[in-house]
């Protein structure tokens, strides 16, 4: 069965190019928690990240709307 399995293409990760970093996992956790709490606006999301982390990689850890957008553009590319 395992031999047969190899004949077909089953790759669970087709969108990402490398495994996520711990920082990216924490960021994903934090964003999901904000969404779950009903925070759907950029201002609220940035305030949530500044409250719960992870810190921004720039600006001594402080997220701003511009830095969040810049970071998401990078991670979405």
């Amino acid at each position: 069965m395992s031999e047969l399995r190899q004949e077909v293409y089953l790759n669970p990760h087709q969108a990402r190019r490398r495994p996520p970093t711990p920082y990216e996992d924490l960021l994903g956790d934090s964003i999901e928690r904000a969404f779950a709490a009903g925070i759907h606006d950029l201002e609220g999301l940035v305030a949530h990240l500044n409250r719960t982390g992870p810190g921004c990689l720039q600006n001594e850890g402080v997220w701003t709307e511009a830095l969040y957008q810049e970071e998401m553009t990078r991670l979405a590319a």
Binding site: V8, Q14, G28, F35, Q69, M72, A76
Partner: protein
């Protein structure tokens, strides 16, 4: 799916209807080195020129039938590895090194196929005969509009491609099979369905429930057969509403299917980028788990499971689709009969 040797309609459907576009593989499967792919009752060889331009021929040298894919790509042509016969992208033999000037030179002796890339996939026009110009590849708006963002998920499943369509034409399985998933835990266990005609095909939908679970599915023919459905995201999915899936399925063999699912979301700006980040970081893995639930059930079904069914109201979508496909197959057979030279008495 069981092939019934004496049923020409079944044979047509098993190999895939002709004169349609089909997705055949993700774009990155093909580079400059020739690649052989079994699809649609044939073997194709695909390769790229250095510029990235893509070509497809039947993977069969017109000389002795060796696979061209074992040869050497030379720009817009390929030299068979067996005797060096050169075949151009349009199927014309440009050189027979072992017998210069022979009749094979200049002959259009290999089937050639039009290919086009879109949305991370290579699409091939499965023409009955060589055509100079294929009809345009027409994709649904989720894949063409800038308002949507999408990712392709490509898998190969053991089972006929029609089982995959049956599965998507059966929204009610979401409530049961996908009960344990991140997105399909809601909604009633019972439903009444109806079929609604569209310009391109039809929608099979639950009466009185929308935006709760897997509540509707659409089948469409734009010269490419594709399906569309929407699944609500949980609150953790953020703004943007339901996410859409566009599906299209291509036979590899009678018992293996090439399964294309594009996951799409209508978002812009930071919301779009955030979804794309979350998709890569975690949502893709959750969607994968749901898709695996489908694959495992379908692969465990006997190849002739669809010969022993007792269907009920929830299955009228797939009954409708199967009937439509059989009609298309009959029309194809009639066209082929009309085009065939009259047989001697």
């Amino acid at each position: 799916m069981r092939t019934i040797a004496n049923d020409p309609v079944e044979a047509v459907l098993a190999a895939g209807l002709k004169d349609l576009w089909y997705p055949i593989c993700p774009s990155e499967f093909v580079a400059e080195r020739p690649v052989s792919l079994r699809r649609l009752g044939k073997k194709f060889v695909l390769w790229r020129e250095a510029s990235g331009k893509l070509h497809a021929l039947e993977d069969h040298c017109p000389h002795r039938g060796a696979p061209l894919s074992m040869g050497i790509a030379m720009g817009d042509r390929i030299a068979c590895g067996y005797h060096g016969v050169q075949v151009r992208f349009d199927g014309v033999v440009t050189s027979v090194p072992g017998s210069p000037g022979c009749k094979l030179e200049g002959a259009k002796a290999t089937r050639s196929f039009h290919v086009q890339e879109a949305c991370g996939a290579i699409f091939l026009y499965n023409s009955t005969v060589n055509v100079d110009q294929p009809p345009p590849l027409r994709l649904p708006e989720e894949l063409t509009s800038d308002e949507y963002s999408h990712f392709l998920c490509y898998t190969e499943w053991k089972g006929g491609y029609r089982y995959v369509t049956d599965n998507v034409m059966d929204p009610m399985h979401g409530t049961f099979l996908h009960k344990q998933s991140h997105s399909m835990a809601e909604g009633d266990n019972t439903a009444t369905f109806r079929v609604r005609e569209t310009d391109l095909g039809f929608v099979f939908e639950k009466e009185g429930q929308r935006g709760v679970n897997f509540d509707w599915t659409e089948w469409a023919d734009t010269g490419l057969h594709w399906m569309r459905l929407a699944i609500p995201y949980p609150k953790t999915g953020g703004p943007g509403g339901s996410f859409f899936i566009i599906g299209s399925y291509t036979p590899i063999t009678d018992n293996v299917a090439a399964v294309f699912h594009w996951r799409c979301r209508k978002l812009s700006g930071w919301q779009r980028d955030t979804w794309r980040f979350l998709y890569r970081n975690r949502l893709e893995a959750r969607h994968w788990t749901v898709l695996e639930q489908d694959r495992v059930v379908l692969e465990m079904m006997e190849p002739d499971a669809n010969q022993r069914e007792m269907l009920y109201q929830h299955d009228m979508g797939l009954v409708r689709w199967r009937r439509h496909m059989r009609n298309l197959a009959k029309e194809q057979l009639e066209r082929e009969d009309a085009a065939a030279p009259t047989k001697a008495a």
